[in-house]
Symmetry: C2
Subunit: 297 residues, 2 copies
């Protein structure tokens, strides 16, 4: 049993707050599209108070995500990888607000080297730390920028980012590929066809993307199948590359909302891997562990 | 010596007309951003007459590009690949306008099979046919949708499309990767670094794209180098995939405006291939050959 607190995930385009009781269960939730980009003039304190209105100001607030980036409220330097819960806890900084609330800011992780030279994340690490009990060695956090995260002995030792979700949104809504599409209903067969295409030629994405148009023009895929096919091409390309660089055995845990996580699971299963869906609230459990290690709750 | 005529390339986002004298030289040019998407209510005849105002209505007009697609003026079915100048000539259809002008519409090419199942192009084939005297066996027409075109005995036998130019525009102007960029000046070193990254890991595009952000965040590439680096990543990925599927020997001819063609030449030379820049007006020469074969001029 620890003290109750408020867990906040404040990203670029969304705000989520959970009131967490002393046994770790969530007894209140506030969500909003007020990501850090939507907060005018850096007025983060006012925005936070508005979102948390009515929640006890004595509860410590634990915040992670882009809110601790250069574009956010309080920039907290990245912790270097490899890192565990204690390393994250040691980097927490706090600020007392006019209302009397104390906000604790938790930073993200930086990895030097790797194929990109540098890689970074903010908040995905809390999902991983909150899922360690599942016993996986590989974690995937699909999203605008997906992260593939490798854990050893409870520490994040390596990770890599894929701009898959953002790419899907670009091609879906801003490219000529989206012109033939009607809706975004999940078409499992079209999705699998896209994954197959990607698995067969992982280096050919810029070319296979054109098949979204040519297969549509020739009626091989209907307008309501093209969005799922595009999704399969992109997710398949990501999965093919990410698993080629990792050991295939062990459990792969996918941490995202069920709709997105389900697609990644299908692609991982098509690749013959053992993969499961993780707890969508793992972020809250991870923040609780870091807050405990920091002596905040 | 053949009759003079007017060569028109009418694409999705641009209109170009050239008045061609009997010896094949260009003695007049009209260009506009009135691509087929900019023409209201399908009023293509009015738009064409406006662009050609003052040019002799007795001159035959030869038109190619998206103007012959389903979204254009007169839809002309694709010619099946392999195809040469005579096949294109046999598919030309004509229409007489109120002014007395005759417009001849030249269609594009369709290739069944191949890695995509279906592939199509409209107007790039005229550039290739107009460049056959260069003696290349491989042609590249970079652009919104780049085409890699294989020629044997004067006929186009195979081609494949890459959505590279459109992808660059999307990531440059609509993604988080563009946020750190300042301008689009050509930075040869940053471009080469992007090409190198792509050549080293051609299947990792969705991941290496994130390095546009992470290398920018860590100051390894300045704001005015990031656009060239992104361009190198995308063009390098395209080149790596396209040349892996073709014979490396022989001459590769790049057909585009000098700025774009120059970048493709650099990437092809980095790959150790013999590549040259083609004639930017090859399209006019190609249309002339097709118009001659059709008995129009």
């Amino acid at each position: 049993m620890t003290l109750p607190f408020i867990a906040v995930d404040w990203g670029t385009t969304s705000f989520r707050a959970y009131r967490v009781s002393s046994d770790g269960s969530v007894d209140g939730e506030r969500t909003s599209a007020d990501g850090i980009l939507a907060v005018a003039d850096g007025n983060f304190e006012q925005a936070l108070e508005r979102h948390l209105q009515g929640w006890d100001t004595a509860l410590p607030v634990f915040a992670a995500g882009m809110i601790t980036s250069r574009q956010g409220w309080v920039e907290v330097p990245y912790v270097e990888c490899p890192a565990g819960v204690r390393d994250m806890a040691a980097a927490v900084v706090s600020r007392v607000l006019a209302s009397g609330r104390t906000v604790y800011f938790s930073t993200g992780l930086h990895m030097a080297g790797g194929s990109l030279g540098h890689d970074v994340m903010r908040s995905e690490e809390t999902q991983v730390f909150g899922s360690l009990h599942a016993g996986a060695t590989q974690y995937v956090t699909p999203g605008t920028h997906s992260k593939w995260i490798d854990v050893q002995d409870g520490r994040i030792v390596r990770f890599s980012t894929y701009v898959t979700g953002e790419s899907f949104a670009l091609y879906r809504h801003h490219s000529i590929l989206g012109r033939l599409m009607a809706g975004d209903a999940d078409d499992e067969q079209a999705f699998a066809r896209g994954v197959d295409m990607a698995f067969g030629d992982a280096a050919g994405l810029l070319s296979s993307l054109f098949s979204v148009r040519s297969l549509g023009l020739y009626g091989e895929l209907g307008p309501d199948a093209l969005s799922s096919y595009l999704s399969g091409l992109l997710i398949g390309t990501e999965v093919a590359h990410a698993i080629a660089q990792r050991k295939r055995d062990g459990l792969w845990l996918v941490l995202a909302s069920p709709a997105i996580a389900g697609r990644y699971l299908r692609a991982l299963h098509m690749a013959g891997l053992k993969a499961e869906m993780g707890d969508p609230l793992a972020m809250v459990a991870g923040q609780r562990l870091i807050a405990q290690a920091a002596g905040i709750i």
